[in-house]
């Protein structure tokens, strides 16, 4: 069995990008959309086929084999035995990601056909989507950390291009710029981490079997590098991993690098669903999962720092989400919070005797599971939001309310997705979130309770959103002018498909996810811990009930009262605790205002001034000695005479 056809999973979207990008001008919207979607359909089929083949293949020692169908040296480096490879690597999480990405991407392709109908730049939109899909697939199929970085940058650019798709609108341009620069800043950490890692381990590869040997100084021929290896094992490797995590934190919107994600909602909503909910933003989680063997073996303490960062982010984002009025913003903060759940799940893993163990590292599986389920239901939520925005022409909740009668399909799918994210059985989110909570309790009960609390907050704000849109106070006046209507089938079908996945994936295959993806690679049977699950269900139901009580009515006296009682808290939460303003201050006032401006001034006036001074000095000196050449013959004669006299005197004395 070989997987050489997997190369087409990368090549097809790339060619689709080239064709749509270069020839898009001469294609009709319809042709371009169908072409892009068809190509993606083929990619999806290939991905499913790959998954089928991969997971049905025999295990070796109870572990799915890591396969490398392609790997070649793309860019050789000439020192330290390093080289930059490109290739394709297949292991369980890669294959899982292939399914996630291709599924969501295909849904978004189909959905966009309706959502983006008649938009200017339709072909360009599909070209970008293709490029993004290619980059994201390349990212997850990377054979080495540098290839990952390369595609990481590419998805960043795609994200930039797609957020700024409506480039004539200033907020979209600003948001795209912000997204790119913040993630780029984080990627600096990633890059430096890679450089450290590469230098001290002598490889960029994800094949960690050599790394261990190298770090222990036992690799043949590296005796001279023993000191390097010691340093690497003790301090450098955790540092390098943490720096890489900084990159991941940027992409996955961990506090304090999350600020770009809410703004990224300026992009078209399907893009938000694909990039900023389901796929690209989980790249950070994927990266930590990819480097997990190293984390757990060499840097478990640092991994726990990651967990706490995740926990704080989850709490912060949930708190902010409770106060937002823009539905996409709520979903964005919800995404941040959920990704932070995944990060926590990875962070709470414990090494068992210094090595990976399925039970101690339950969080790894939980995290990947949640990644999978979250991608589906969050994509649903975003696509529903897209339908609503499409119908109402606004993002603000005040223009909505009572939408359930206009948009039944959207309503149902949205509700199911909300139940899933709140962790209500039998929907998929329950199973994955439960595993995360179990893992958190396994690490420490404090962490466990914190995460349970945040899960309750999740349920609360999601139902606040749900009621705000579909129940609550209807903006009757507005709806009379623009009567909302259900979206066309091309938009609702993806919703229904994704919802089906959300509904079924948890209970049809209970416990089977662990047999595909787990920390050690050996099959791990998930069994629900009902003490944890029960608690979380109860708390979630209470939170939902609370939200129902406060927000479901036509009049919402309690909500008004709460707003009035804690005006400062509400205001701060609404303004996201003014973090954006802090960043704005630091970047504009300090970096640009102080450093850049003073450098530019220094350059023009001091450095350049110095050279101008040299020129001026030469000029002034010339002017001053110029008077000697007065052009007056008598003066010349006088000087000549004096000269002659002096010469004579010198001769006779």
């Amino acid at each position: 069995m070989n997987f050489t056809y997997t190369i087409f999973i990368l090549l097809l979207p790339f060619f689709s990008f080239l064709i749509l990008g270069l020839a898009g001008k001469w294609l009709s919207h319809r042709t371009a959309g169908i072409f892009g979607t068809l190509v993606l359909g083929v990619v999806t089929v290939l991905s499913y086929f790959t998954a089928f083949e991969y997971f049905t293949a025999d295990r070796v020692d109870g572990v799915f084999q890591t396969l490398v169908p392609y790997n070649f040296v793309w860019l050789p480096f000439f020192d330290g035995g390093l080289h930059f490879d490109l290739g394709i690597m297949l292991d369980p999480i890669t294959v899982m990601m292939l399914i996630v990405i291709s599924t969501v991407s295909l849904m978004v392709h189909i959905y966009s056909f309706g959502y983006m109908h008649g938009e200017r730049g339709f072909q360009r939109y599909y070209a970008y989507l293709s490029l993004f899909t290619m980059s994201m697939l390349g990212l997850v199929m990377a054979t080495n950390i540098f290839q990952m970085y390369m595609f990481w940058e590419l998805v960043g650019v795609c994200s930039y291009l797609l957020i700024g798709f409506y480039y004539t609108q200033a907020p979209a341009v600003a948001a795209s710029k912000k997204a790119f620069i913040v993630t780029r800043f984080a990627d600096l950490g990633f890059l430096i981490g890679i450089l450290f890692y590469g230098y001290y381990t002598g490889s960029f590869s994800f094949d960690f079997t050599n790394t261990a040997v190298y770090l222990n100084g036992a690799m043949p021929g590296v005796g001279a590098d023993f000191s390097k290896a010691i340093a690497g094992a003790g301090f450098i490797l955790p540092t390098a991993l943490f720096l890489m995590f900084v990159g991941g934190a940027g992409k996955s919107a961990m506090f304090p690098l999350h600020i770009w994600l809410p703004d990224a909602m300026e992009g078209p909503t399907p893009v938000s669903a694909l990039i900023h909910a389901a796929t690209m933003v989980v790249a950070g989680v994927f990266q930590v999962a990819r480097m997990f063997p190293l984390w757990i073996q060499y840097a478990p303490e640092t991994l726990h720092i990651v967990a706490w960062i995740g926990a704080f982010t989850a709490f912060y984002a949930a708190a902010v989400a409770c106060a937002q009025s823009d539905i996409k913003r709520v979903l964005a903060f919800s995404t941040i919070s959920q990704i932070a759940f995944m990060m926590v799940a990875l962070g709470v893993c414990l090494p068992e005797g210094g090595y990976t163990d399925n039970h101690a590292s339950l969080g790894y599986m939980a995290s990947m599971y949640h990644l999978f389920t979250h991608a589906m239901f969050k994509a649903t939520l975003f696509l529903c939001a897209g339908c609503i925005i499409h119908a109402v022409h606004s993002n603000e909740m005040e223009f909505m309310g009572g939408m359930r009668k206009y948009m039944p399909i959207t309503h149902i799918t949205f509700l199911i997705a909300c139940l899933a994210i709140s962790g209500i059985p039998p929907f998929s989110g329950f199973f994955s979130k439960d595993e995360i909570l179990v893992a958190a309790f396994h690490y420490s009960s404090a962490m466990g309770w914190i995460m349970t609390g945040i899960a309750a907050m999740t349920a609360f704000y999601m139902f606040r959103l749900y009621y705000g849109i579909f129940w609550g106070t209807e903006n009757v006046e507005y709806h009379e002018h623009h009567t909302p209507h259900e979206s066309p089938a091309v938009m609702t079908i993806p919703l229904i498909l994704l919802t089906v996945i959300t509904v079924t994936v948890g209970w049809i295959l209970p416990g089977s996810f662990g047999s595909f993806v787990s920390a050690t690679g050996e099959a791990y049977h998930i069994h629900l811990d009902w003490s944890v699950a029960g608690t979380s269900i109860v708390i979630a139901v209470i939170a939902i009930a609370l939200a129902t009580y406060i927000y479901s009515g036509v009049r919402q006296p309690i909500a008004e009262k709460m707003k009035a009682t804690f005006p400062a808290l509400h205001k701060w939460a609404y303004h996201r605790f003014y973090l954006d303003e802090v960043y704005q201050f630091v970047t504009h006032r300090i970096v640009f205002g102080i450093f850049s401006r003073s450098f530019a001034w220094f350059d023009r006036h001091v450095v350049d001034g110095f050279f101008n001074f040299l020129a001026w000095g030469t000029n002034a000196a010339s002017y001053s000695i110029r008077t000697l050449q007065s052009g007056r013959v008598q003066q010349y004669a006088f000087v000549f005479l004096l000269g002659v006299l002096v010469l004579i005197l010198m001769l006779i004395i």
Binding site: G80, L188, F611, A615
Partner: protein
Amino acid sequence: MNFLSLFVLIPLLMLLSLWLVKGTKGIRAVMVVGSSALLALSIYLTFAFLAERAAGNTAEMLYTASFTWFEPLHISYSVGVDGISVAMLLLSGVIVFTGTFVSWDMCKEYFLWFTLLSMGVFGFFISIDLFMMFMFYEIALIPMYLLIGVWGSGHKEYSAMKLTLMLMGASAFLMLGIFGIFYGAGGQTFNLLDIASHTGGATLIEFSQQCIWFPFVFVGFGVLGAMFPFHTWSPDGHASAPTAVSMLHAGVLMKLGGYGCFRVAIYLLPDAANELSWIFLILTGTGVVYGALSACVQTDLKYLNAYSSVSHCGMVLFAILMLTSTASTGAILQMLSHGLMTALFFAVIGMIYHRAHTRDIRELNGLMRIIPFLSVGFAIAGLANLGLPGLSGFVAEMTIFVGAFQNADLFHRVLTIAACTSIVVAAVYILRMVGKILYGTNVNPDHAKLHDAHWEERLAIIVLIACIAGIGLAPSWLSNMIDASVSPVMEQIQAVASTVSKSNPFL
């Protein structure tokens, strides 16, 4: 007759024909034929060179030829190429070719100087005689003055004067350095290879002598390579120069600096390079960050790109001074990459300026809707500039960083990490510029009816983008070719690398 000399002969023939022909058509015909011939020659050279190497010819320089030009001073006309020169010749060929199309409407005298400049550049890269290198360097310099001073814009006389004076000042340093090397090596030969290998009457240059001449040579070439703090000619010069001259200048002429630093300063004075590199590392490292930060607040497109060039060219010298094989390879790649993308940048900026009559970022808006082709070219140039994977900048920068990280001490580490930050700052200024001028909606009615690129402009832009993407997608052949030629220099360095710089207070 060695076929490398064609690189000098073709421009000479072009000069002659330009002098003889009349009318715009004739001039264009001569220029297109000539520059295509140069491009074809450089592509042929690349293939021939690779074939020769593949056939097992491991001589350091291929196609060498030499004849004595002035016996008493041992000056000879010596030519030869290695992988680095081949890469540079290819770059020059591409830039001259595209530059011709970009300056399509220019007059005869302009093209005469333009061709003379090209001749100097090509001559520089094929020379392996120090004196001839210097001479071609000077040949390349003088036309610049006239091209900027006559056909420029803005404060053109001031800029032209400043540029020429600073580069002339640098060449004074350089001349001292070259004579220092010549006499330090026994005063018998100007030939690079002989001096490096102590043959042909050359002797080992004493350490104390090397330490004297290294700063002269490095600063001499470094000024041309926009080394901080000798970079100030670059913003003014580029801002005033006509489009194709900016392209040629930033794309090729600034590469003379990096190439010279590597070929002369590092290669011939390895001990001093090892000893004194720290001073210049601090300067170039500062320049990398400083140029990038300064670019953030510029309002003139050309100034912005000029400061960005200061940053990127600073990276070239920075990488060279890291004295590792990878970093040096990266430096050469960066020269190629920067040459191409900055040429593209200047070309598009020039075209926009030609249409909109302003380069002020604050006055341009929403060009994407009006002139989509140019805007896309501009955006691609910007993305290449900030190191998008798949375009050339990424390849070069990554090679440099990996190479720079091979120096394990804290001093080099800190500087490398500082240099890495420039790629973030690059994203800031590029996106700021792209966001301001391409995106948004146009508010200036004068700009509403601008026409998009003509065919000749499209050709130039497409060729440059193709080259950028070509390097970005398939870098390894280039990287291997360059590295094979970097290794002789690195052998010189390896011989002395074990001694730690005594003068460096940070070690």
